[in-house]
Symmetry: C2
Subunit: 442 residues, 2 copies
């Protein structure tokens, strides 16, 4: 028992949880159209000096229905690989509304065709800038700047500074000038992304560095600040003040306009901000075990690293909520639990300490047992898309969209074993020595 | 420049690397039949008192060709989920040669059919034991014991002790007795697995605890010590003395036989031991960037977290080797590099410090540039099977088997974008507002 506040469900009701589990099975991702729309409205109305373009960061949750929903809501897109561009285009997105910022950019026929169709390119290195220039001399281009500093929840989420390989190092701008000149390129956008879960103060400094670079290149029209904006997920999380830093950036751009007569547009690339709290992972509790008086009580669920890696990978906390198998009149009393996933690795635990994956941190949950449900909140961003898919041969979970009218629609069917092994081939001489087992084939 | 020793290729030659890259594309996993066979020979000949059964741990690398190869070599199998059992059976494995030890065990029709076909079951909790007893009263069963202590490279690889949810807590043996009795079950095997990369001294203590439990249950015939055996991967790694602890365990079993007249058989469940050094990941270097005099020089490759998570996830070091794009008469001088993967997250780095994922640790590599290759060694276990598959929408890499005659055979084709999105569905009202882009569909 504890006085610690217990997390509650975000957009699902306990009845919803039971309905979704029964209709679609567990584990299952559920995304909420209404929460997504609210996020789009909020971020689109942040203060800006001369216009704001919001690009949804596809890697946060690239499912076609989610991408189409953002398209319908009028957003543009941030792609982190050419595969993401192909995937979005396949879902119906106009390439001209996508900006590609990738570690891997190979100017093959596929990428060239996308550029012809209007795809915008952001060079993450001098080599990429040169390659682009050779492929499309005289074209418009962006560069991603590493301003020499960054900020994030942990080092692995810090994408600026000397430890980060992303973008063009701020001391290498003369190489940029040379490349632009030799290929007749026009630098129209400066992009920077300092990290995820970053300190807003660092973001404002990065914006200032990008604006400063725009001073040096008269063709720059847009400053893009990437994503990584904090959300309030846990009860203990402060409400982030995004309007605060946005106003500071708008102020910088206003001063720049007064000094130079140039009105820079702002771009943001939220993924977590738009999707994190718009997704829940519904799992079933299979078992409750204990490791004695000096140990823990573990709830074991039928999902885990195969659906959500964030707590185990970098100690990102997720609200956890238990839901009774059947409706009950009274809430159950709280107990302290660790929550373990279904994979055979001790790392499959959802209750790690913040930014300290080697330490377990039990949480207070409504008392639960086998057959009850456990909902992982903040499950919409970097969960389905950034997991140990198929580890222990578990199939990919289904994805469901909760529409505005409260109805649930399957947007990704659960994977089958046939699909998991579809590309495997066995050399003839190695095939099936135990042929007597062939009648067990699925 | 540095005096630090430079790692070298394990089983591929530089010509092989270039050939594989050209024939199959990069990134690509290459597994080596000869190394696999040598590992089977070595572990099968470890000292044991009254017989040794080796079970390949399917989760290390579950590709059908690899599973068939171990089958042909006479090994049995360790499955960590019922899905792994189905998958192995589909590849031609007799269910009677598989032992299932899973966090998630639901006695549905699929599992019951496998039990009927001979699948052996290892209960990881008292509830699982009860469920099994209800499903198959009077049957043979194993239990997994948490002896109250464990050992592993990090906590996330330590699967014994109070922080681990695996197995039946050593103080709960009276519950085991009660369950066995009430369902007329016969306990034939005690299983324990203390962790991965464990201290052999802890393993011997765990073996002693399992043997002690066998004293209490006269029906026990087998002690299974799980997997997690260390390998020598880096030049700096010591050669592990597996014969040493195996002889100690054999000694314990010998004394037990003298005292009780019972000859216990030994089982081991290696995954890493058999596959780690039998696999290499061939990638191409796309870019070389720098973060200034106080920073690093980064090699950027066309693989990363999508193929290998271990360095970023728990600081597991892998030997890295650069290979020139074309054959060269002289080896190139060494440089210190960090190696970054192709995903858009600062965590996609292969050069982390050992067991300290938040710190970068540059390594000495033969000087390399874009177009050269980087080979990640020790890439056969927990790489293809335990990665951030499809993050940033990158397709799963191909897998290739190098046969004894040196020929390379495709055993898993590269995934296509069609396959990545195969299960996605878009509600009709959300479909393609930008229909004009439909002619870009792949």
């Amino acid at each position: 028992m504890t006085a610690e506040p217990i997390e509650s469900l975000k957009f699902l009701t306990p009845d919803d949880v039971r309905e979704v589990a029964q209709c679609f099975g567990t584990p299952v991702f559920v995304y909420d159209e209404q929460t997504i729309e609210a996020g789009v409205r909020t971020i689109s109305s942040l203060p800006s000096a001369f216009g704001l373009t919001v690009r949804y960061s596809l890697k946060a949750c690239p499912s076609a229905a989610i991408v189409c929903l953002f398209d319908r809501l009028g957003l543009c897109f941030d792609a982190s690989s050419v595969w993401e561009v192909h995937r979005a285009v396949r879902a119906g997105i106009d390439p001209a509304r996508i900006l590609l910022t990738a570690q891997q950019a190979v100017f093959d026929d596929g990428l060239l065709a996308l550029l012809d169709a209007g795809l915008q390119f952001d060079a993450g290195s001098v080599r990429q800038l040169e390659d682009y220039g050779r492929a499309r001399p005289g074209g418009d281009v962006s560069i991603r700047l590493n301003p020499g500093f960054g900020s994030g929840l942990v080092r692995r989420l810090t994408s600026g500074g000397p430890e980060s390989s992303f973008g063009i190092w701020h001391e290498a701008i003369h190489d940029v000038e040379r490349a632009l000149e030799s290929h007749g390129l026009r630098l129209v956008r400066v992009h920077t992304h300092v990290g995820s879960g970053h300190d807003p103060g660092v973001l404002v400094r990065a914006a200032a560095a990008a604006i400063e670079l725009a001073r040096r290149f008269a063709t720059v029209q847009t400053v893009n600040l990437g994503g990584g904006y904090r959300v309030k997920a846990l009860l203990a999380d402060p409400e982030p003040d995004h309007a605060g830093w946005a106003a500071m950036v708008a102020g910088e751009m206003g001063r720049f306009a007064v000094e130079t007569g140039r009105e820079l547009a702002l771009e943001l690339e939220p993924g977590t901000y738009l999707m994190a709290n718009a997704g829940s992972i519904v799992t079933k509790i299979l078992d409750v075990t204990t490791t004695g008086s000096a140990g823990h009580t573990f709830l074991k669920i039928d999902g885990g690293l195969t659906e959500i890696l964030r707590p185990s990978y970098y100690g990102a906390p997720h609200p956890l909520v238990t839901v009774a198998a059947q409706a009950e009149p009274e809430p159950r009393p709280a107990e302290r639990y660790c929550v373990a996933g279904h994979c055979c690795i001790a790392g499959d635990v959802l209750t790690t300490a913040v930014a300290d994956v080697e330490r377990l941190a039990p949480v207070a949950l409504g008392r639960a047992g086998a057959g009850d449900y456990l909902v992982v909140e903040r499950g919409g961003a970097y969960c389905s898309s950034m997991a140990m898919r198929n580890f222990n041969s578990y199939p990919d979970a289904a994805e469901v969209l909760r529409r505005r009218d409260g109805s649930f629609h399957l947007i990704r069917a659960r994977q089958t074993l046939d699909q998991i092994v579809a590309n495997e081939r066995v050399p003839a001489d190695l095939r099936s020595v135990s042929t007597e087992s062939s009648h067990y084939l699925a």
